[in-house]
């Protein structure tokens, strides 16, 4: 049985892949960050969201 946190993390990532505001590579990075089991820091997230991404800038 998954822990509550794992269930929430999974649902969160599912929620995200259904929206197009966050691209696949960012979702993947978030998945890794959450799977790490370490506590998530705002800096890590800022890095993920601001990482330059092909196709981001038109």
């Amino acid at each position: 049985m998954a822990t509550l946190q794992q269930t929430i993390a999974k649902k969160f990532l599912d929620n995200l892949s259904g929206s197009d505001a966050v691209n696949a590579s960012r979702i993947e990075q978030l998945r890794k960050l959450l799977a790490d089991g370490k506590k998530v820091k705002p800096e890590d997230l800022v890095k993920i969201f601001t990482a330059a991404e092909d196709g981001d800038v038109k």
Partner: protein, 817 residues
């Protein structure tokens, strides 16, 4: 998770050396207050998790496992303090031994060290909530909703989830601010470009018209379409770009700045007012200010946590989790401060946009001043630019904002006084220069336009990236909140159902229609229960304390069931079930047996009767229960054991410790007479509080037993059973002579004489006392199985017997006729 097979405890808490065989099943430990029950629970918890909740939980400042975990006599030798647990892992079908020393709580020795065993033990170590102590139980029930939410979050281990959510929120708001600033930058660079181009609206056609006019004048081909890579000065030779500036444009830049300076006193007025009023609110409410300051500090602390030492004050904690709990709890207390913080940061970043615009206006004049060798003016602008950059950074952080009060009150821009004059002089100097030739004008127009277009494009690019970052962070935060809410709501709903069912099961007779509702809302968890179908109310409103305690246990069980499902194999209930009122204990035992057949409960209680009830309800057996009769600092808990008590007393006497022996004897007598009063149906003068004293209990037990033996003899006589009559008669005689020896009948009259004096007895005087009581108590036991005799049925007894049937005396007289 695991089940306990056995425990060996040495020098932990109040325990010196103790072995307990749990046999993987539910187990009861009883004993009066201070007899060491919690010590056992602490030791098991320590063995499994490396922590002791009682020492490191909330409100336990200054206590630690390292210092207070070992027995007080071993604090200098913490190596001597250890727990060795034999556990069984149902999911693996394996047993393992885990040994943990207080001196190395994080490095247990596990045998066998199989990876799968270690994984299960690691998981168990991660769940200190398998222990439920009395101190904690009402946390779920009586606390206010915000606090309950916090407590339940702790038990659900939600702090990690909260941490993730908080980090997403922080990231989201930082990126939103960054986007706002980036948008301001776009606006400013567009203004700069537009001012240079002198176009009314910022449109490609107008831009190209202005540019092409110059290009044609210079004999260059006009640009037909503005694309992302268009170069406005394409075709200009390097030499053609020679002159430093476009005179007319520079003058416009200077004018724009000068005009802006004139408007500064009013710029950002609203934002400043909002910031200042928030600050005033803080000042008038020191508690709020304190909460806010601590909030900033604590947020920082939470960010910095890396190991068990507090990053704020270096205080060592037992582990990171407790430290984080502690800081999170503090943070939660400052809801209002948090809202205020949000408002402050919003106004701050709005004001920062004005700063951005001002900075953009300062750029071109600075270039000119330097180019013209006007060092005074250049220095003024440089210094101010630096100052404004600082201000911008301060405006978007809480710490920064808090330091800005004076500046904001006296005009945020802090315009250098000498600047307007310096700018005027500079403009005069530029104006005095001869007008530029049409060619130079066109050339510098194009080069400057291109430079500013580059800046604009760069700002646009950054803004676009910032927008995407902000939008995805926002989306991620929302998605996480949704996921969290959905899952928690589902969990709460399930818990609420289970809770109602459990609670109904316990209170079967009087609350049949019982329902409960857990209503989660932002950071709160409302909990309401039905009171005799009069509606839903908070548990503290009408329910008795016994009921509330019962609710606490039920809510705990419901949470554990939902959280761990089939992995809920063990729970340590430390003195929490005694508060279930006596009428409902039997149902409680039934609930545990029927709803949690695969869970091992280790239940402690200071209530002897409860311990007996658990046995008669079949929750535990004589083999799976343990009774402490007392505790001393030298011996640790003294185990109530019919055979060993006399060895223990003899041991104390051998060491010359008459007081210890006397205490042991007294506790044993207290236990035995209470127990016998219950088993035999003795009739001491009724006491509503149940606090019977030995001095009244023992005499009434004695006379009851004499009666019973008398009845047995009478009955045997009526049935013409000579052997039975002989046995009953002998027992009665022995009883009379043993009790006579101790004058026990006199105790009720003359209370003080007996045991208070024992402590002053010499060893020799006391030994006969001990053997007299031993003889006396033997009159209440079966000679074969050593168990205490009991009557059955309880109301009008028909026989006096023991569990092995070695003793079974008929009490019914043969009907005449």
């Amino acid at each position: 998770m695991i089940k306990l097979e056995s425990a060996h405890i040495e020098e932990v808490r109040g325990i010196r050396k103790l072995d307990i065989n749990f046999g993987k099943g539910t187990f009861a430990i009883s004993g009066p207050n201070g007899s060491g029950k919690s010590g056992v629970i602490d030791a098991i918890e320590f063995g499994l998790t490396g922590q002791i909740g009682r020492l490191t939980g909330r409100g336990t400042k200054g206590l630690s496992v390292a210092e207070h975990g070992p027995h007080v006599d071993k604090t200098k030798f913490p190596d001597a303090a250890f727990v060795e647990l034999k556990v069984f892992i149902p999911s693996l079908g394996k047993s393992a031994k885990i040994t943990r020393k207080v001196s190395a709580p994080r490095k247990p020795k596990i045998v066998p060290a199989d990876a799968d065993i270690k994984a299960v033990l690691d998981e168990t170590a991660d769940h200190p909530e398998i222990t439920l102590s009395r101190r904690e139980i009402l946390r779920f029930i009586l606390v206010e909703p915000a606090k309950r939410s916090e407590e339940i979050q702790t038990i659900l281990k939600l702090e990690e989830i909260g941490q993730t959510r908080g980090a997403l929120n922080t990231a989201q708001s930082r990126l939103q601010t960054a986007h706002k600033i980036a948008a301001g930058q776009v606006q400013a660079s567009r203004d700069t470009l537009q001012r240079h181009l002198r176009i009314a609206t910022f449109q490609a056609a107008e831009l190209l018209a202005a540019v092409n006019e110059r290009r044609v004048a210079l004999g260059l081909t006009p640009i037909e379409k503005l694309t992302a890579v268009t170069k406005l000065d394409a075709g200009l030779s390097e030499t053609g770009k020679a002159p430093e500036f476009n005179k007319a444009s520079v003058l416009r830049d200077l004018k724009a700045l000068t005009e802006a300076l004139g408007l500064l006193p009013n710029a950002g007025k609203e934002e400043v007012a909002s910031i200042l009023s928030s600050m005033a609110r803080l000042e008038s409410d020191p508690a709020l200010l304190d909460a806010l300051q601590r909030r900033a500090l604590i947020e920082k602390g939470l960010d910095l946590i890396d190991g068990p030492d507090c990053p704020l004050c270096d205080r060592p904690w037992d582990d990171e989790e407790h430290l984080r709990d502690h800081l999170n709890a503090k943070l939660a207390k400052s809801e209002e401060a948090g809202k205020l913080q949000g408002e402050l940061l919003k106004s701050g970043s709005d004001l920062a946009r004005y700063v951005v615009r001002l900075l953009a206006l300062l750029g071109p004049p600075l270039k000119v001043a330097s180019g013209e060798g006007d060092a005074a003016c250049a220095n003024l602008i440089t210094a101010w630019t630096t100052n404004l950059e600082e201000l911008k950074a301060q405006l978007i952080s809480m710490d920064g904002l808090m330091g800005l009060k004076d500046r904001l009150a006296s005009g945020w821009s802090a315009t250098p006084k000498a600047l307007p004059a310096a700018l005027k002089a500079l403009a005069g100097k530029i104006e005095a220069k001869p007008d530029q030739s049409a060619t130079v004008e066109a050339q510098t127009f194009l080069t400057t336009a291109q430079l500013r277009l580059n800046d604009y494009r760069e700002a646009m690019r950054k803004n676009e990236a910032a927008k995407i970052a902000s939008a995805s962070a926002q989306e991620a935060y929302d998605a996480y909140c949704r996921a969290m809410e959905d899952e928690l709501n589902a969990l709460y709903e399930a818990v609420q159902e289970d809770f109602s069912e459990f609670y109904k099961a316990i209170n079967e007779d009087d609350e049949v229609r019982f329902t409960a509702k857990l209503t989660p809302s932002e950071g709160k968890l409302d909990f309401n229960v039905n009171f005799y179908e009069r509606g839903l109310f908070p548990p503290g409103a009408y329910h008795s304390e016994g009921h509330q305690d019962g609710m606490g246990v039920c809510l705990y069980l419901a949470l554990m069931k939902r959280l761990f499902a089939d992995r809920f194999t063990i729970a340590l209930l430390d003195d929490v079930v005694m508060s279930v009122d006596s009428a409902h204990r039997y149902q409680f035992c039934k609930l545990l047996k029927s709803q949690f057949p695969n869970t091992q409960f280790v239940i402690t209680t200071h209530d002897r009767l409860w311990a007996e009830q658990m046995k008669s309800a079949g929750l535990v057996t004589a083999k799976t229960s343990l009774a402490f009769h007392s505790w001393t600092v030298d011996t640790g808990p003294l185990v109530e054991s019919n055979t060993e008590i006399w060895d223990e007393i003899a041991g104390s006497l051998a060491k010359g410790k008459v007081d210890t022996a006397a205490a042991s004897l007294r506790h044993h007598l207290e236990y035995a007479s209470r127990h016998m009063a219950d088993q035999l149906g003795a009739r001491p003068a009724f006491r509503a509080d149940g606090n019977y004293e030995l001095g009244e209990l023992l005499p009434s037990v004695l006379s009851r037993m004499k009666d019973l033996y008398g009845k047995a003899a009478e009955s045997a006589q009526s049935w013409s059973n000579a052997a039975a009559k002989e046995i009953a008669g002998t027992r009665k005689t022995t009883l009379s002579s043993s009790s006579g020896a101790m004058n026990v009948e006199q105790w009720a009259v003359n209370k003080a004489v007996h045991y208070n004096e024992w402590a002053n007895f010499g060893k020799r005087d006391f030994e006969p006392v001990v053997s007299a009581f031993r003889e006396l108590l033997d009159c209440f036991r079966c000679n074969d199985c050593q168990s205490w005799l009991y009557v059955t049925p309880k109301g009008i007894p028909e026989s006096l017997r023991c569990p092995c049937s070695g003793t079974n005396m008929n009490l019914k007289v043969k009907p005449k006729g």
